[in-house]
């Protein structure tokens, strides 16, 4: 496999020239960026903001699909196992969720894939799996995460996955060298223990089975939990007698990560777990504790008092304006939690949203960047 990375000095000098050009071009496009104009001509041209265009949506299981994405000029190559924040417009409103990339870098001419499993009542996952058409533009982040393979590879690896937890591991497996086991450039000794409810629910099932048949060093253990029950960590030594000699990557539901972490007795740095970000807490609109993250102040808010008043009474320097929801002088960033629009009763809010504190109340625990 060819490496997608340019050598460092060359890339740096190219970036330097590009940055100077961009600064010069900004005199022509002020107050906007050249990217804003490029993006109006072709959504994939802006270099300052990673975007992608959906090329195909491939069903994987009854409730999961792989999105094949052509990244734009702003994309930075990822390492297998990393995740990306995906911004997608649902009914005109931008939503952001994190998904692991299931493709290794340089896959099929630079195409990326994310594999999404529809979660019950999941607005974004349902939209991505069921309603996304080729041509849709996705707003990406830089790839992030430390759930990656070290270089050089350790001699023995164990991947422990469940459900859609297979996605980051799939990127690693697809990027593994496929030469003779043990030799230089050969496949290391890899064990994959993957759980799913039934054979038809195994995301990448066919590909995993064919990889295991083809790649000499790869051993696959599939666990079908509906018929065989959930895998307990105590069963691991049986499946993998040299467990303690292995470097382990675990990705799956939170309960599984906790169990395995508690069970593991080997060196801590050989156990790597990937926690998917928790979904926004369900809020009932009854108010809750409000924390102002920068000033460190805290207050208890009821469901009817504007956050602006809550903050002012707690001694936080709150920006404010008309105090009736028209001027947007009070916008602050929500770090976490859900809020209620006092005008409509609508409960909304995601981490990173700018919210109007003068007409919003806490609808549960809330954190504000102030």
């Amino acid at each position: 496999m060819t490496t997608p990375y340019t050598t460092v000095p060359e890339a740096a000098s190219r970036r330097g020239v590009r940055a100077r050009l961009a600064r010069a071009a900004r005199w022509l496009t002020t107050p906007l960026d050249p990217d804003d104009y490029l993006g109006s001509l072709n959504a994939l041209w802006p270099a300052g903001e990673p975007r992608g265009r959906v090329e195909a949506v491939l069903p994987e299981t009854p409730d999961a699909a792989t999105l094949v994405i052509r990244p734009g000029r702003g994309w930075v190559p990822h390492r297998p196992g990393q995740w990306v924040r995906v911004g997608v417009d649902v009914d005109g409103v931008r939503h952001r969720r994190a998904y692991s990339l299931s493709s290794p870098p340089g896959h099929h001419g630079g195409l990326l894939t994310i594999t999404v499993k529809e979660v019950p009542d999941g607005l974004v996952s349902r939209h991505l799996v069921r309603r996304t058409e080729p041509g849709t533009i996705l707003h990406l982040s830089r790839p992030e995460g430390e759930f990656v393979l070290p270089d050089p590879l350790p001699p023995k690896l164990l991947f422990l996955t469940a459900g859609s937890g297979i996605t980051p591991v799939m990127a690693m497996l697809r990027g593994l060298p496929t030469g003779r086991a043990g030799g230089a450039g050969g496949t290391p000794d890899v064990v994959l223990v993957h759980s799913a409810p039934a054979p038809e629910n195994v995301i990448f099932g066919a590909e995993l089975r064919s990889l295991a048949a083809r790649v000499p060093g790869l051993r696959l253990y599939e666990r079908h939990t509906r018929s065989e029950g959930r895998l307990r960590p105590e069963e691991l030594p049986e499946l993998c007698p040299d467990l303690l000699e292995r470097d382990i990557w675990v990705c799956g539901p939170a309960a599984m990560l906790e169990e395995v972490t508690a069970y593991w007795t080997g060196p801590a740095d050989r156990l790597r777990v990937e926690r998917f970000l928790p979904a926004a807490q369900v809020a009932d609109g009854a108010g809750g504790p409000v924390r102002f993250t920068r000033s460190g102040r805290e207050a208890d808010a009821d469901g009817g008092t504007p956050l602006l008043v809550v903050g002012e009474e707690a001694g936080v320097l709150m920006p404010s304006g008309c105090r009736m929801g028209i001027c947007r002088g009070c916008l602050v960033r929500l770090s976490s939690g859900r809020i209620r629009d006092l005008r409509t009763g609508r409960i909304h809010g995601e981490a990173g949203d700018l919210v109007q504190t003068c007409v919003s109340a806490a609808a549960g625990p809330v954190e504000i960047e102030l």
């Binding site: 005199w27 022509l28 001509l41 947007r328 916008l331």
Partner: protein, 364 residues
């Protein structure tokens, strides 16, 4: 005509319209604003490209027209409305009131304060809404007359031509400096921000692009200057038509004390005037041709004003409230008539204007 009006019932009817629109915002609205933004940027690129051939008079005319249209769209339908937060619901970090900067001398931060907060909260309240005559003109008989007002028709023309600079400097509230109503340090900081913005705007339109077009330096310079001038005059016209035709009402601070939601709606209605016209006029005026709907619902997306205008108008009729609407020519004529009349002293008893203000006092 009824002497009293059920102001709170009118307010509730307005709230219902607002809730209905908010509940139906979706993909079509998002497509609309993105479409206008894409159109505006392509128009601007086209205009700038045509000016590279501006030694040919038709290319100069077409390029200048495209650029002027792009600048008008950018200021009115896009900039003004995005900065109102009309599109914040999309949660697109690029098309957001907190992030938008416009092609205008006035830095968005300052403009959002003086426009969204001061003007929209205190619409047409004497001594509070500084947009009344932009502190330089006498547009209401309650404002005391001064000989300097004799020249106001002349400096209204100047203001129209250089509207963007007028607005930028006006935001600094220099007139409050001598009496200590404004911190000089703050004013200086604001002026610095304006200077920084103006510098970039001037370099773009009057240095960088003319130099780039090489042999077409002078025609490009002239084209850019003309485009800015056209944009300024158009913006000035639309905005003056929105609040200063002869039927628009002004209010005193006492009248707004303890104002209820319903009374706030009525004040916004009485202080605003619409311009009749087709979809092109609405687009080019940033839908400020629906100034009444904009003032009732400043943060509803502008593409929805046209559909709610007939409902607002019908409700006004039912509640016996005036709904001031007229053609562009009529409203412009009316504005100029007012500016000319009030350049002279008097009238001491503004009989024709007593009507709406008195009515509000009665109903409020």
């Amino acid at each position: 005509m009824p002497t009293t009006v059920d102001v709170e019932a009118f307010g509730r009817a307005m709230d219902r319209i607002r809730d209905e629109v908010l509940a139906t915002l979706g993909e079509d609205d998002a497509r609309y604003i993105r479409g206008v933004i894409a159109l505006q940027r392509k128009l601007e690129l086209t205009g700038r490209a045509l000016l590279f051939a501006s030694w040919l008079p038709p290319a100069w005319a077409a390029g200048t027209a495209a650029l002027a249209t792009a600048k008008i769209l950018e200021n009115m339908e896009i900039g003004h409305n995005v900065m109102h937060g009309q599109w914040d619901w999309m949660r697109d970090p690029k098309i957001h009131s907190a992030a938008w900067e416009w092609d205008n001398a006035s830095p968005s931060e300052q403009w959002k304060h003086s426009h969204n907060f001061v003007h929209h909260t205190w619409t047409n309240v004497l001594g509070k809404d500084r947009d009344i005559g932009y502190s330089a003109m006498r547009v209401s008989p309650e404002q005391p007359w001064h000989p300097v007002h004799l020249a106001q028709p002349f400096y209204n023309v100047l203001l129209a031509l250089f509207f963007e600079y007028g607005i930028a400097v006006y935001d600094v509230e220099l007139e409050r400096l001598p009496k200590g109503g404004k911190d000089p340090k703050e004013a200086l900081e604001q002026l610095r921000a304006i200077a920084g913005k103006v510098r970039r705007q001037v370099v773009k339109d009057y240095v960088a692009f003319p130099l780039l077009t090489g042999p077409c330096l002078l025609p490009t310079l002239l084209g850019n200057f003309t485009a800015n001038l056209v944009r300024n005059v158009w913006g000035h016209t639309i905005i003056f038509c929105g609040h200063f035709p002869e039927d628009a009402a002004f209010f005193t601070e006492e009248q707004t004390e303890g104002e209820t939601r319903g009374e706030w709606y009525v004040r916004q209605l009485l202080g605003s005037c619409n311009i009749d016209g087709g979809p092109l006029l609405h687009l080019m005026s940033g839908n400020l041709s629906h100034q009444i709907e904009h003032h009732l619902f400043p943060d509803l997306p502008s593409n929805r004003y046209a559909e709610i205008a007939p409902r607002v108008r019908a409700l006004c009729e039912r509640f016996g409230l005036p709904y001031n609407s007229g053609s562009l020519a009529r409203q412009t004529g009316s504005v100029w008539k007012r500016i000319m009349r009030l350049a002279l002293p008097g009238p001491s008893r503004p009989e024709e204007r007593d009507l709406p203000t008195a009515r509000l006092r009665e109903v409020g």
